[in-house]
Amino acid sequence: MSNNSSALAAPASSKKAGGFDLAYLLLEGRAFFALIAIIVVFSFLSPNYFTVSNFLTMANHVAIFGLLAVGMLLVILNGGIDLSVGSTLGLAGVVAGALMQGVTIAPLGVVLYPPVWVVAVLACALGGLVGLLNGVLIARFKVPAFVATLGVMYMARGVALLMTNGLTYNNLGGRAELGNTGFDALGFDRLFGVPTGVVVLVVVAVIASLVLNRTAFGRWLYASGGNERAAELSGVPVKGVQISVYVISGICAAIAGLILSSQLTSAGPTAGTTYELTAIAAVVIGGAALTGGRGTIRGTMLGAFVIGFLSDGLVIIGISSYWQTVFTGAVIVLAVLLNAVQYRRRVKAPQPSAGSTPSLPNAGAKAAA
């Protein structure tokens, strides 16, 4: 695999004429090779690692980070950052939990129990709303993305704590006679043996990949992330694009919140704390540039799997959680270093050999993992 976005020039199989450039291949496909290496190493270290059930469990964990990372990728492609996704995840879970307990309408003296799909839609709408707040602050009021989303991160977390008074909703199952069962499906059901969370991630990633590579919006996003002024003068609605990416990121966080609370069968106000950092790490490991304009869904998905498989592997072989933190950090630093090397190479050595490869970018095959 190469980390090519179609926004980057280098075609996937851009080899030096006649030669097989191993260093180039390793660099371009580093996230993929890292994932392979992680799987190989842990399979040797633990007999339980290389089993279908373990992969499904790990994939279930990855689903949460992966969903956040998809939204985060769009934001980072735009040249922004969204620190509020972890809190949005927690808030969406808590709101879903509250809705499952029933909504009391005091003047009428009734308690409404919305069906699960309504709960899911409302939670996603809430996520979108939080994203809208981010987007408007950043695009309309020119608040730097880091600060705006930092503030919203605190606010969303605070609201989640206020709603539950710091407690956790443990009963999310619903009752058959109220017609609101089925919340557990998000976390526990399987489609052809694959957990729902993973299926949702795949669907979201495929849609996002199509949006990035095949729609005008995707093109606008790459352009405005690469050079906002040039994009604006070319007629790209840069503000609209900017607001949209934060809304999408918020919705992705809400979906992740629903899946996580279903997996845990509880919705706590502190769920998802620091997950925004994991999501950023996944995007960076996937080769995206924090300066905007460069990055792919495929890379980001690999990044999410690298982080998930690494940390679960460390748990399985029984390494202390303190060491896990150190390892994860080291992987992130290494990824950023390699990104710098890759982009420097690209500047130094433009690809004059582009004519030698069929020039249709392979975005059709670029759907996520």
């Binding site: 790459y222 994009a231 790209v236």
Partner: protein, 517 residues
Amino acid sequence: MSQAAVAKRAADPRHGEVVLSARNVVKTYGGVHALKGVNFDIRRGSVTTLFGENGAGKSTLMKILSGVTTPTSGEIRLDGAPVSFASSTEARDQGISIIHQELSLAPNLSVRDNIFMGREIRTATGVDFAEEARQAKALMEELEEEIDPMTPVEDLRLGQQQIVEIARSLSVDARILIMDEPTSALSASEVEVLFKVIRDLTARGVAIVYISHHLEEALQITDHAVVLRDGNITATAEAKDIDLEWIVRNMVGENFDLGSPPTGYEFGATALAVENVSVHDAAGSGYDVVDRLSLDVKTGEIVCIYGLMGAGRTELLEAVAGRVPLANGRVVLHGEDVSKLSIAQRIAAGLVLVPEDRQRDGLVQTMTVGRNLSLASIEAFAKSLFLSRSREKALIDDSIRKVHVKTAGSEVPIGSLSGGNQQKVVIGKMLTTNPSVILLDEPSRGIDVGAKAEVFRLLSERARQGLAVIFSTSEVSECLSIAHRIVVMRRGRIVAQFGSNVSKEEIMAASGEAVVA
């Protein structure tokens, strides 16, 4: 040159000695040969001018000489001994300094801090800011520029920023100074000052390498002329033996001119009318950079706006394109008031702008040549929700052909193209939207004569087909090329209008520029 300088120069026994030279230098980028075995000498106390079109390899050669990159083969000799520089800092320590075409200043820092960036004057307790300020002030005086050393660079005009860049090189006591397009953003009087500084430097024994697209200007200052074409040196001569025609002939290998106004057809109705437009100064100084200005252009007509830096040309064009809000007046396109429309809506209505600064406003560096070209016309190849690859490809190929972009393909990074070809991409991008009115802000900035002529030819062809063209320039010779009408701007207002038969002197007199004899 002052009397003292002449005396010093005559007394310098080493004057004219070769200090830095390139021998059989080859540089390849992938499969592209930027330099094909170049021999180049730089002499003490002389100005050596390197002439050549964009993409001829001038910048590559300068980067090699200044240690920014290393040659693929061949050698660099400093004072006769082979050297290789690991970095530009190493070259600078050997007394080789370069002023790049694209400015490398930190806009948030003051003039003083920029001049001493990386070479702060240190004392036991920190940085000696007072001494730095004093030296910066002295440099500004030497360059006859009234800039307070404490002014942030972002508050300076582009021309003044260039002066700061020059001051920085002067402050390191370079003995070899490479200037890549130092005058592209300077006004005529600033150029005079720069030339005086150059003469003083050569008198002190500094070797200067000069690169400029202003050929007449370069001819005034140079001692030796070297012409580079397609990675080869095609001619060298003493400045006293050559003229403008010689340079151009050797640069492009053929005789040509910048063209003449297209004729043989009638102009149509008024395409664009700018009515009583004012634009406030973006810095908030309270005065209007464009002051109740009215201008119209007919279908098929080419109008040139001439003015010095700060005359308000850029602000006017950006306001018409919708980038900057109008303080007063309106913009009428084919009888419809478009003043309230967004940039995107104006593009859709047929009014487009090619911005002055292609790096900052024209190109998306992270995207390919093709995607830059198609960026403004995405709607043209969108099929319902998705984009049509085949239609986009057709559109891009068509565009590359029409604006003659020299590229290894539509999938290469935009940064791999030469400046002139990048500019063609920016123009091509806007022409692909099928505009009826095109505004071009200094379309020839930093591109060579060949590319310039091509751009003008393209515009005059399109004008013949009914495109209304307004372009701005700060080079008089460009006004006298394809424009049917020349409008001179000064302090935000139109001070004179001429037909195409006007003389250079009349235009320059109207603009408030001192007439260069």
